[in-house]
């Protein structure tokens, strides 16, 4: 059975059909949630919450063909909600550098996975989400805008600022050893 048929059945209250949809889309939702939240427990909670909300709100979905982006949007909102529960989450970046040749030498080798990890975890959930949608799911700006429910121009600027914030986070991390007397975290 096609996704659309299942969605239409689920919209009419067919729990079995929704169960099939949940199995089909569950792995993708979990992969996205983990990449935004970077925590297994919270990712599981976000997916569980998203599936319940999706079930509850499904009759409001007008176009069954848009189920997947609609579900992604609900998931992203659930990730925001999970993220907000953890208070130490938000960014502590104090200065965003302008584009240009300002990066310290350490930034030339972004391949360091731990640096990326630390930098990414400094970002607020909205910026994490847009980076995941773009670099993990491979969505273009129009699709990101559609998923997040924002205008394409906003998606463009948000992605731009997410990249800048990521660079700033990496730069802050690169400066940290000097500030901490050469001690790496």
């Amino acid at each position: 059975m096609m996704d659309r048929d299942l969605v239409e059945l689920a919209m009419r209250g067919d729990r079995e059909a929704f169960g099939v949809l949940a199995r089909v889309h569950g792995d993708r939702l979990y992969a996205i949630a983990y990449r935004i939240l970077r925590e297994v427990d919270r990712s599981e909670d976000a997916v569980q919450q998203a599936l319940v909300i999706a079930w509850r709100e499904l009759p409001r979905l007008r176009d069954p063909d848009r189920f997947e982006p609609w579900l992604n949007r609900i998931l992203v909102r659930c990730c925001y909600s999970e993220a907000r529960k953890r208070r130490e989450w938000t960014a502590n970046i104090r200065a965003l550098p302008e584009d240009g040749p300002t990066a310290p030498d350490d930034l030339r080798g972004f391949a360091d996975r731990d640096e990326i990890d630390r930098g990414f975890k400094r970002l607020p959930p909205e910026q994490r989400a847009i980076l995941v949608l773009h670099h993990y799911l491979g969505l273009g700006l129009t699709e990101i805008a559609d998923t997040l429910g924002i205008p394409a121009g906003t998606a463009r600027s948000r992605l731009h600022y997410a990249h800048r914030a990521m660079r700033a986070a990496l730069e802050a991390d690169a400066r940290r050893p000097a500030a901490a007397g050469g001690q790496r975290r």
Binding site: Y30, R60, D99, Y161
Partner: protein, 284 residues
């Protein structure tokens, strides 16, 4: 020169790692929750109606008209009821030309609000209690909306929405307006006196000032709005425009926030005005 492109491959490699398979127990837990969760009514016509014979549709429509007339005449001959009762779980959309009257009260039951929900607007229980016109049929973001809030506390920090201000914000309209004007990270207009629903207050335009380190500026906890079930800070979002109206309602500060997507906000203010013009506020 270092550009965004330097980060992209590293991010893509970074995102390749991590789990890809949802544990069965999570899926089972979600499905168990769903077994006890009722779906909301959709705005589509019920499928049964689509396949109903025409004469049956006409008969049902006729009964509905008569019922509406009877109910309407009953209400027209009665004085207006007090603002009581819990918020409707979900109202909307108001599809007809006549706005839907929407009534709600605060969780504490000490304040009541009534307003007309214009045609095409919705109100959701898990958003702030608000009337809002969605950007699209499945959008969770408003083109324009009106939130009705009780703001008793504000955040002390600019970006994180972590610490509440101490000492607490004063109770008056002017206390809140003064705080907004002094709040780092916000761009604000000049405050203007106004009256809404017979209550005096002050209106001020508020915008995210794009402070370093955050796009969206948390201002007060979302848990305080009337009937809200949403968690986390109320955010002044970069992508949106805001008009904050603080009213003195019999000594209680009630805050209305007209908000909408940047670029459509101005053009849709008339719609929001329908809500404001129909507003009734009552402190009990």
């Amino acid at each position: 020169m270092t550009t965004h492109r330097d980060i992209e491959p590293a991010l893509e490699r970074y995102f390749e790692e991590g789990p890809q398979v949802l544990p069965d127990r999570v899926l089972e837990a979600a499905l168990a929750d769903i077994d006890h969760t009722t779906q909301r009514l959709g705005w589509r016509r019920p499928w049964r109606f689509l396949f109903m014979p025409t004469f049956q549709k006409l008969a049902i429509a006729g009964v509905a008209v008569i019922a509406f007339a009877l109910v309407g005449s009953t209400f027209l001959t009665r004085p207006a009821p007090n603002v009581v009762g819990t918020p409707s779980p979900t109202v909307g959309p108001a599809t007809g030309p006549t706005p839907v009257r929407f009534t709600l009260e605060s969780d504490a039951g000490d304040i009541g609000v009534r307003f007309d929900l214009p045609a095409g607007w919705y109100s959701f229980e898990d958003a702030n209690v608000s009337a809002f016109e969605p950007e699209g049929p499945d959008s969770l973001w408003p083109l324009i909306g009106v939130d009705v809030l009780l703001v008793d506390d504000v955040y002390a920090d600019t970006c994180e929405g972590r610490a509440l201000s101490e000492p607490r914000l004063g109770p008056g309209v002017d206390d809140l307006i003064a705080w907004i004007r002094a709040r780092p990270g916000l761009m604000v207009g000049e405050p203007r006196p106004l009256s809404v629903a017979g209550h005096e207050g002050v209106e001020i335009e508020v915008d995210s000032g794009h402070p370093p380190g955050c796009e969206d500026v948390p201002v007060w906890p979302s848990g305080l709005p009337l009937g809200s079930h949403r968690e986390g800070p109320y955010l002044i979002r970069r992508a949106m425009e805001y008009r904050v109206i603080a009213l003195d309602v019999d000594g209680r500060r009630v805050v209305l926030v007209v908000n909408g997507m940047r670029g459509t906000f101005e053009a849709r203010l008339d719609d929001a005005q329908v809500v404001l013009d129909s507003l009734e506020l009552e402190v009990r």
